[in-house]
Amino acid sequence: MELTVLGQDSGAAASSCASGSCGSSNDQMGHLPEEIRNKVKNHPCYSEEAHHYFARMHVAVAPACNIQCHYCNRKYDCANESRPGVVSEVLTPDQAVKKTKAVAAAIPQMSVLGIAGPGDPLANPQRTFETFRMLSEQAPDIKLCVSTNGLALPDCVDELAKHNIDHVTITINCVDPDVGARIYPWIYWNNKRVFGRKAAKILIEQQQKGLEMLVARGILVKVNSVMIPGVNDEHLKEVSRIVKEKGAFLHNVMPLISEAEHGTFYGIMGQRGPEPEELQDLQDACAGDMNMMRHCRQCRADAVGLLGEDRGEEFTLDKIDAMDVDYEAAMQVRAAVHEGILEELAEKEAKRARLAAVTVPQSEDQLAPTLRPAMIAVATSGGGLINQHFGHATEFLIYEASPRGVRFIGHRKVDQYCIGGDTCGEKDSALAGSIRSLKGCEAVLCSKIGYEPWSLLESAGIVPNGEHAMEPIEEAVMAVYREMASAGKLVDAAPLAASLSA
């Protein structure tokens, strides 16, 4: 089924390219108009650069859902699992406001409060909007955003606009009901449970209508899609094209998470998730001149902190009750911290512009354009620096370096699946998990690394490197790429050990 594309010319967002921010920068915001860049420059979920500096939190006030997705199991609340739809405790709007203010006082980098479940926020309109209403009064400096499956979206657009929500994420996995019928078993619609293709058709129509309505209001829309190999992987290219034409400003293709332990339809039925290479290929294919998001961490519906970290356990209800918070003072500290970060980002941007303006590099610095690209992993705990010990990394950021520069292509979680709990199955050592997660990478940069992982990495064909500790990530990655070039490593194809499964 081909959907009619409305507002073809309203999606001109990506047509022009501000000089100095294109090509030399790996900031995915480079192609966006100034107005949108300003809106997202402190939003960790929308700006790759911002996610190194700004923190976010989700409050779990929305437990009810109006659809079933085959990748979701509504029974799951394991404290050790980290993925969407999972929480430790559901909050009332009052509790959520209290928690938000306490977190924003303890973590002054916090810029964004999102409601993302564990059900669908717009299937819980009272709890969701009550939370937004109180927060916009009591913490007006915090940006509010919401993530939805889209079924109830058209009915909620007015209310969203009223609460000054300028970012909405819609999960759109398909625009074809036949594909949808393999993803969504049922929806609750007009007081009935509707199954199969008919359900998917209604959901798709509501999602597209909601997207158009939000764009018409000038509310920024990001589209999330779950890549399900054999179900919607090829189809997502069409989804990407359509949502972009309708004015979504960012598309985030995420890998299916599916383990039998999760008890989801896909987990039980053995539907596999994509390999990192498959995900990356699809993201590249969807890219065109669309902004693709590659730094999503698929966080829990009660996540707290920088993307990739979760400090939720520091802020349970009983711990918050014991805190003594001066909200006014906290807001002032936040303002100063945010200003400092934005100044730092502006300096980096200015530096990039200066570098891009340098047109005659010294000949010995010039990399032969025929050199092949290489994937390099980085361990960081934020701030855009290489500042994490290899053994402490719960994830690695993956960069692709080539003669054209450095680009961020994604992150790999270290497979620490469900530590603790004896029902969760056999576990590999964390070290084996780290090395497995670096498949395809030729080097890993970290602040320090122990002897044992060093030799294991080397034998897996991945060069450990602690020489760039505390350096900015992109510069260090480029420096290592240049070293590889000088050593003649980039003339032939990537070594087998790195390109095949390690």
Binding site: P63, N124, N191
Partner: protein, 92 residues
């Protein structure tokens, strides 16, 4: 004539919001239905609303004690496939 919520309920609030009779209340360890208020949606809707949105199979019983959404009816997972997966996980 009333429906019942049993202990497989996950407390997701979905039924609470859609009940036309305000018969559902929060309780511990799970939501419950006030049998005096429940009409099974007779006269309001063709299907009982709580059982039309509940995501958990077998969590809501009809007045004869039978699950309105039997195993496999909502997730689409065949019961034997679920049993097989559970055996496999537990054997690890």
């Amino acid at each position: 004539m009333a429906l019942t919520i049993v202990d497989s309920c996950v407390n997701c609030w979905a039924c609470y919001d859609v009940c036309p009779s305000e018969a559902i209340y929060q309780s511990s360890p799970h939501f419950k239905i006030n049998a005096r208020k429940c009409t099974e949606c007779d006269g309001d809707f063709a299907d009982p609303q709580c059982a039309s949105i509940c995501p958990i199979e077998e969590a809501i019983l009809d007045s004869s004690g039978m699950p309105i959404n039997p195993i496999g009816s909502l997730t689409g997972i065949p019961p034997e496939k679920m049993a097989e997966a559970m055996r496999e996980i537990q054997a690890r």
